[in-house]
């Protein structure tokens, strides 16, 4: 054995004998299992900690109904942006006095769409998608699907928007 520190004695580990092979394998398996337990015990709290905002948002997306106070005062030909759960939504008061409400998340790539009162249509500035402002149907441009419509109900304390 070559020696690095002059004549210092280096105490070697006893090398594994043939009979020790099983013990060695059992030890490695136990160490591996313990390692997995540690990784899980550390990983689980860290995962749940980082996932907290998502879990909170999940509770909010479970919302089925939103009451918009004083929304009935919205003038003709205008729009109110509000949050349905976590996502933006539109409440439109058309020139003809009708009310419609739908999600404001474009079905193409998720931009927030806008209501254009002059053309009475819904337009997405990101890639030029156009939707029908009464039905939410995708009229032109890249959107593959219509916008989801919500039910609109007039209540004494405001307008109630709910999932259709």
């Amino acid at each position: 054995m070559s020696d690095l520190r002059g004549s210092t004695v280096i105490v070697e580990e006893t090398p594994a004998e043939n009979g020790d092979r099983n013990t060695r394998r059992a030890f490695l398996a136990a160490a591996g299992a313990a390692g997995i337990c540690y990784a899980a015990a550390l990983g689980y709290p860290v995962y749940r900690y980082l996932a907290s905002p998502n879990e909170m948002a999940m509770n909010e997306t479970a919302v089925t109904e939103v009451t918009l106070k004083d929304a009935e005062k919205l003038p003709l030909g205008s729009v109110l942006m509000f949050k349905f759960g976590t996502r933006p939504a539109l409440l439109i008061h058309h020139e003809d006095g009708r009310w419609t409400s739908m999600t404001a998340v474009c079905t193409h790539l998720g931009c927030t769409v806008q209501y254009e009162p002059q053309a009475d249509r819904i337009h997405c500035s990101c890639h030029g998608g156009v939707y029908n402002a009464y039905t939410g149907a995708n009229v032109s441009g890249p959107p593959p699907k219509p916008l989801t419509l919500y039910k609109v109900k007039m209540n004494p304390d405001g307008i109630v928007v709910s999932r259709a």
């Binding site: 070559s2 690095l4 520190r5 002059g6 004549s7 210092t8 004695v9 280096i10 105490v11 070697e12 580990e13 540690y38 015990a41 709290p45 860290v46 749940r48 900690y49 980082l50 996932a51 907290s52 879990e55």
Partner: protein, 362 residues
């Protein structure tokens, strides 16, 4: 091609470019002395492990912490709203305390093994600088929750530089970001704690660890006195590394136990109009200097006492830092004995003033 030959080809490709086999050969030949005081060799590694825990939990806290006016609210949210946030924060606080403790044990073991002697002077000096930075880490981190305790601790702590003649008040005002501890203080302490201090600490730690690799572990005088043939050492790979890892796992278990069984508390939000709560005191690692200044203040009342205290304290620290240049001979002569007694005196003074400090607030 078999899996084995693919693996060896990949290894060869990387080895040719990064020289892995040189590193492996270095690790294979590295040995660590084995003797009655070997236990103390693990404390540097324990400090390093706890620092890594600090980095990891610190980044996790950074995910939700908001400095400035919202500081308290965000820590409240971490502690009571986010899943396991209390545990992450508790682990960060406990690990900070354990790290200070491990660093102090490491420092005193190095001191009494006289591991600061030639050629290890830079190891000692960089270690002392790391201890200083660790204290500033502790002090700046303590304010971040902005509860009553952290508010008053910072208020009092920043009174100490005020006693420095002429420039003291300006330094304190600069650190505080104004005449009072406010959200400006927490904002700049935050910048210090998560950017400035890590940027200084990590390269210095790299230097410190490189020196340990370069010079190897120092032998205590009792071992040096033995003829070389009677000294024992063990290979670093795998014997010492295995024991080192075992110490890390023990440390992790102790930390997990403390952090979960004794979760770190969050006090009430600070209010500059509310008087200091009774029994308020500094963290244990600041208790001794705090008490020493108090004792000196009772001998020498007023400003002269404060200045004398700071001078005496600075002198002690300077003597301590410069020990490799004072006690440098290999032989255990008169100077070595003086250094030894100076070390014992330092431990006695630290312990005694800490006990007196806790006695006084009891």
């Amino acid at each position: 091609m078999t899996t084995k030959s693919i693996a060896s080809n990949v290894y060869d490709w990387v080895d040719e470019r990064l020289g892995l086999s040189e590193l492996a050969a270095f690790a294979r030949h590295k040995t660590v002395p084995s003797h009655a005081q070997s236990f103390w060799y693990y404390w540097g590694g324990i400090s390093l492990f706890l620092f890594l825990v600090q980095c990891f939990t610190g980044v996790l806290l950074l995910v939700y912490y908001r400095p400035g006016a919202e500081a308290y609210e965000s820590v409240r949210q971490i502690t009571f709203v986010m899943n396991f946030g209390w545990l992450i924060r508790s682990a960060h606080s406990w690990s900070a305390n354990l790290m200070m403790f491990a660093i102090l044990v490491h420092m005193f073991s190095v001191y009494f093994m006289k591991a600061y002697r030639k050629p290890r002077e830079f190891g000692w000096l960089s270690g002392m600088a790391l201890l200083g930075l660790a204290s500033v880490f502790g002090f700046s981190g303590y304010l971040l929750p902005m509860d009553e305790l952290s508010y008053f601790a910072t208020k009092v702590g920043l009174q100490i530089p005020v006693a420095i003649p002429w420039i003291g008040p300006a330094i304190a005002t600069m650190l505080r970001g104004g005449p009072e501890v406010t959200e400006f203080t927490v904002q700049r302490f935050f910048a210090l704690h998560v950017v400035v201090l890590p940027a200084l600490f990590i390269p210095l730690l790299g230097f410190h660890l490189w020196l340990v690799q370069k010079h190897g572990n120092a032998l205590p005088p009792s071992e040096e006195a033995k003829p070389a043939s009677q000294r024992k050492s063990i290979p670093f790979m795998p014997s010492f590394l295995r024991k080192d890892l075992a110490m890390w796992i023990i440390t992790l278990n102790v930390l997990a136990l403390l952090a979960s069984v004794f979760p770190w508390a969050l006090g009430k939000q600070y209010d500059s109009l509310v008087p200091a709560p009774p029994g308020i005191h500094p963290e244990w690692y600041f208790m001794s200097p705090f008490e020493m200044l108090k004792i000196l203040g009772s001998f020498l009342p007023g400003e002269s006492g404060e200045i004398a205290g700071i001078l005496l304290f600075t002198l002690g620290i300077v003597l301590w830092i410069l020990i490799p240049f004072y006690d440098k001979n290999k032989e255990s002569g008169q100077r070595a004995r003086v250094a030894h007694y100076f070390g014992l005196l330092a431990i006695f003074a630290l312990l005694a003033t800490t006990v007196v400090g806790y006695w006084a607030i009891r």
